[in-house]
Amino acid sequence: MKRTIFGNQLLPWLLLAPQLAITAVFFLWPAGQAVWQSFLRQDAFGLKTSFVGLTNYAALLGDAKYLNAVQVTVVFSIAVAALSMGVALMLALAVDRGLRGARAYTTLLVWPYAVAPAVAGVMWWFLFNPTIGILPYALRAVGYDWNHGLQPRDAMTLVVIAASWKQISYNFLFFVAGLQAIPGSLREAAAIDGAGPARRFATITFPLLSPTTFFLLVVNVVYTMFDTFAVIHATTQGGPMQSTTILVYKVFDDGFLGLNLGASGAQSVVLMGIVIVLTVVQFRFIERRVEY
């Protein structure tokens, strides 16, 4: 890397200042606020605030609704990661096998990524709307009465599909790049070595793709835990019966709707802890790559 020596001590700080200011105002300050709030308790009208130490954290552990949100988040994350990565991998394998018109196909598959999460959520809300949606209409024809406003299972399915749809584009691009990085001769050698297509995928392609897969797994889990707020807000708003209230949605629900800033702050701090752990894991492994 090129090293630049500044004559003036002040200049480098000035150049860094805009970015540092943004980080401080929009990240560090709110994060600090959240940490501070998590130790406080306010009355309903915001007239009195008292320091309560770790009470808010202790309350979380005993809160059945919070534990439910943890469970919902785990199910949601696993489902979204599995669905979006699974579908993306299949689409990428199709491109890699020399599908006709692969270029147009690749371009089309990338488009969903450009759609804002809230817009994606609204689109799926319309498609799955029990009254006017096309998909419930089709499902009724095969005897299934879809209603994500009443059925927790339907609601979870809806948010998983809506959240995965966009992410498929992203995963697809990385899988295509990962597959293209595997020399064709390896798969040819395996073919000559008597491995059929399925066995070739299981013993050669998939292991060699593992660095990409691992990277995407972390990125997707971070995405589902933190970036799917808009999708849920636009479709189910966490319902019915909290069945799609993931941790991030509960922070919003308790803090901004319930105005319980202490509990909301404590939840934010827990989430911050999770994201820090995930980031450390990711950097550790990206640095060393996954060994093969």
């Binding site: 020399p183 001769s185 390896l186 040819e188 093969y292």
Partner: protein, 348 residues
Amino acid sequence: MAAITLDNVGKTYAGGTRALSGMSIDIAPGEFVVLVGPSGCGKSTLLRMIAGLETVTEGTIRIGERVVNTVEPADRNIAMVFQNYALYPHMTVRQNLAYGLKNRGTPRDEIDRRVAEAAQILEIGPYLDRKPRQLSGGQRQRVAMGRAIVREPAAFLFDEPLSNLDAKLRVTMRSEIRQLQRRLGTTSVYVTHDQVEAMTLADRLVVLNAGRIEQIGTPLQVYRHPATTFVAGFIGAPAMNLLPAQIADGQLHLAGAAVAPMTRAGGPVTLGIRPEDLRRDPAGPIRMRLRHVEELGHARLLHGQIGDSAAVCTVTDTAPPDPEIRLSIDPGQCHLFDAQTGARLTGA
């Protein structure tokens, strides 16, 4: 070991590009055949067609008695050594060797026996538990060979296996491959663009150019009697001089001078003469204007011009060369080719 028979094999790509045509080669059991030609001549494509990695659009390929045109690569009972070795990077050397046997359901103890045997033949025993990236180029090359021999296939296919090695290692590995093939007696087809590799390895050479066979023969046949000007220029280093000449009055005329008696019908021909067959001779009829000298140590290459054509002459004397050198040739060393088609003129 099995014979490989190519009968009028050709390949036309979907877009209509014709890559190969009229390939008829009979490879005897145990024979070492080298496909040689410049890049883009179709030699690798032909090898990949034998392996089953490319489709065959015309003709038939037989391995043994069986027509294999549509047989899967796995079922052709061949093993291939790739240019980049294609070792599985996430497996140890042992797993790399065992992979093909495991896929075929070979019993565990039989796999162990064959891997141990191959490791002993190739002296890779100490590296069996290493990953390919922990090996040097030469060791990887051996592992790639090992992966081929554990399978005990009907034929080995080599796709430029030495081109990723440095010059010195290439020479060692070349003779190792030759000895190994002799010892195992397995039919082998070897692709290279390096004519020295081709000459030293082959029982028979197949010289390819632009998707067609130029000549098939033993290295010496090809060297001594090149069938076309292409082969003449391609096989042998430094390359054979190809000079426009005339036959008239029972003499071969080169650059306006009668250089050798020649009893055949008159007309224009292409004279092929190897650099070592151009003799320095103060009274010789050929005049070569010297351009520059390449020193090889044991000999020198004199680059110059005879008439309007560039020519090279190999000399072993160390006398300082004059700006103009006189040369003579022996009629027995002359190769005559048709001036238009480049085909060898018989009886020359």
